[in-house]
Symmetry: C2
Subunit: 143 residues, 2 copies
């Protein structure tokens, strides 16, 4: 009988995600959680994330070319912006309309995932400390 417990590790992981607000990698979650609960292990992070994800409290964010990150759910529908300068992920509100129209006839579109690539205000509009553009981050360069 599943009766989910409220352990300090579980709470710590949730708190880390709530405090940071932005998508974090399992590694980052572990590091931050360590300061809340000493000795917490990687396995617990993965297990807890899977558990929280299953409960719908957490969702994964996948940026092409990047390791998966996790964030709390419950926010409005949004997408992500990946800064090529600092490699941080930001949230973007709203989403384009008419996506269903892109698919050919006969295809039913149930959901979508969108990621924007570029530079955040702090990293400046042009290539400075940028890492060389990865082949994954191609796509059209317009917009």
């Amino acid at each position: 009988m599943q009766h989910r417990r409220n352990t300090k590790q579980r709470q710590a992981i949730y708190d880390v995600l709530a405090e940071k607000g932005t998508p974090l990698s399992p590694r980052e979650i572990l590091d931050h959680a360590q300061s809340h609960v000493g000795g917490i292990g990687m396995a617990t992070v993965y297990r807890t994330l899977k558990m929280l994800t299953g409960e719908g409290l957490v969702q994964s964010v996948e940026i092409p070319g990047e390791a998966p990150r996790f964030e709390l759910t419950g926010k409005d529908h949004h997408h992500h912006f990946y800064c090529r300068g600092c490699e941080r992920v930001f949230e973007v509100e709203g989403c384009p309309t008419g996506l269903a129209a892109l698919a050919p006839a006969g295809f039913s579109v149930e959901a979508h995932e969108l990621v924007l690539f570029g530079r955040c205000p702090e990293c400046g509009p042009a290539g400075k400390s940028a890492k060389p553009a990865d082949s994954v981050h191609r796509c059209c360069s317009r917009e």
Copy 2:
């Protein structure tokens, strides 16, 4: 001095991608390439894909929750449609406009990545042989 050679393995991998047309995983590429060149190894596939990617002949396609796949470049700008029924990836022409407007002021959008999730004509519009919706494939269910 790099002078790139035209080996049969390299050719086989390129041919496989050209024949299939759709994004393939390294594993699939290996399997198909084996029928062209016996004894080809996984390492060669990975090395060659990286090489071809560096040359701009190939690009990777990353579907959230899925292992990376590869396809030939040179097609028009397009996005992908992932069928939750058969797990195949289709290409979608065109792309939404006004994406740059989604990012907050100060952010410069250089590129974008879009994936549509749903069902292809063959798998029918509703859940039949569908796998349970993965937590990654969430996003809004409208459109």
